[in-house]
């Protein structure tokens, strides 16, 4: 009881302190505590034009021509696990179950994959840091070489607990965390959900995840229902992500060059 009175007193103190700060800020009735003001990056005209140009069209990078239903089918993306391994929340993404084997609906997969690739392309266009994560030992080398080829990062080894949540302590102050994490397999080696999904959600980092029929799709920002066990399917995903990121980066270089060429000719206001 004494502690409760103490807490109430403390909260009252905190409020009054906040109130005094608010008053000193010009009389607005904000109830927020004094926070660290992050400096807004001042964009000049050219880079703003470059960034806004990408947002004009829905498929600015023309990624719909990369994904075709036949390619997904031939890479066996539609094959899921057996009925007994199914996760309850993956049921909306399944086309059906054939002789106890779940079949993933490729129409939905194609849409989700296009959205995920589009988001990846926009992140890469804006110079974001992309991290590929997969704990499947069979495809570790493939994922690492994909990341190396497109100039991004990969983490296919044991995930230490505080990698994202304790980043400044583990890696040093001012470390830059990834802007997008792509999970090519959302399970770890004991068939539990990868810790990185939960941590990325905690740190407000968007995730793209390839979900098989035994995975939990809840926390993934851009889920892509699909097979993650067959080498053909994994090679397809890696190839698609690599092409998307390379395309986006090339487009950025191209747009900057064009804007840079056109800027001196137009009179600046």
């Amino acid at each position: 009881m004494a502690t409760r009175a103490l807490m109430r007193g403390l909260s009252g103190l905190r409020q009054s302190r906040a109130v005094t700060i608010a008053y000193s800020c010009g009389g607005h009735q904000y109830a927020t505590a004094a926070s660290i003001k992050t400096p807004q990056p001042q964009l000049d005209d050219v880079s703003e034009k470059v960034l806004n140009q990408a947002l004009e069209k829905p498929d600015f990078f023309r990624l719909s021509e990369l994904v075709s239903l036949k390619d997904l089918f031939d890479a066996r993306v539609h094959l899921g696990h057996k009925k007994g391994c199914r996760h309850r929340l993956m049921e909306p993404y399944l086309y059906g179950c054939r002789l106890d084997q779940d079949i993933i609906d490729l129409d939905q997969t194609k849409e989700h994959l296009q959205q995920a690739l589009n988001f990846t392309a926009h992140v890469a266009y804006r110079g974001g840091v992309i991290l590929f994560v997969s704990r499947r030992r069979q495809f570790g080398h493939l994922v690492e070489s994909t990341a190396k080829d497109c100039g991004e990062y990969a983490h296919t080894r044991y995930w230490q607990g505080g990698l994202l949540t304790n980043g400044p302590v583990q890696y040093g102050p001012g470390v830059r965390l990834p802007d997008l994490i792509i999970f090519l397999s959302t399970l770890n080696n004991v068939f539990q959900q990868h810790v990185g999904i939960r941590d990325a959600a905690k740190m407000n980092i968007p995730t793209v995840g390839v979900l098989d029929s035994n995975c939990n799709p809840s926390l993934v920002t851009y889920p892509v229902p699909g097979n993650d066990d067959t080498p053909a399917a994994m090679e397809l995903y890696c190839r698609l992500f690599k092409m998307t990121i390379t395309r986006a980066k090339d487009k950025r270089r191209q747009t900057e060059l064009l804007q840079g060429l056109s800027a001196p000719s137009t009179p600046s206001s």
């Binding site: 239903l69 089918f73 031939d74 696990h81 057996k82 490729l106 035994n214 080498p231």
Partner: protein, 191 residues
Amino acid sequence: MAALCKVVSSFRCGVRLPSSRFIRSSFSSDSSGASGSDQPASDRPRSGFAAAFDLQSELRREAEGSAAGSRGSSPGQEESFASLLRRSPLIQMGPAKDKVVVGRIYHVVQDDLYIDFGGKFHCVCRRPADGEKLQRGSRVRLRLQDLELTARFLGANTDTTLLEAQAVLLGPVEGREGRETQNQNQNQNQD
């Protein structure tokens, strides 16, 4: 069996065609009456083999005509997922127990051969006593037992899966056999 499926599936999509087209173009079949052109399909007094023969020959002619015309026009966007799935060898095969398929060895670890036959998982077979010539890339015949080894253990919520298929190795594919009429699951990575 593949030919039978093709005819059956074209029959199924042929039923959706408007009946007038069917009647107008049945002039060429020898036993049809020319008077049937204005009547709806339900009034035509065709029965049994004659009706079936007319329908099949008409559909086959149309399928050949449309296939020749449309293959060049739109690349790869015609088939829906449902029709791709229905015609895929995996579905046409049926239950995997005791089906003979052709696989390809993609990894070798001393005596263990990792064989991919076109399913979701690979299977691992021990090298037979006379299997010295079975190396990475050789094609083998398998008798499948299971596409994925799973079991529900006591106290578990979901099945535990081994991420492997089970098959019995029958031997290398002999000579240049081409397409066998037995249910074969061609390896989709090859060719």
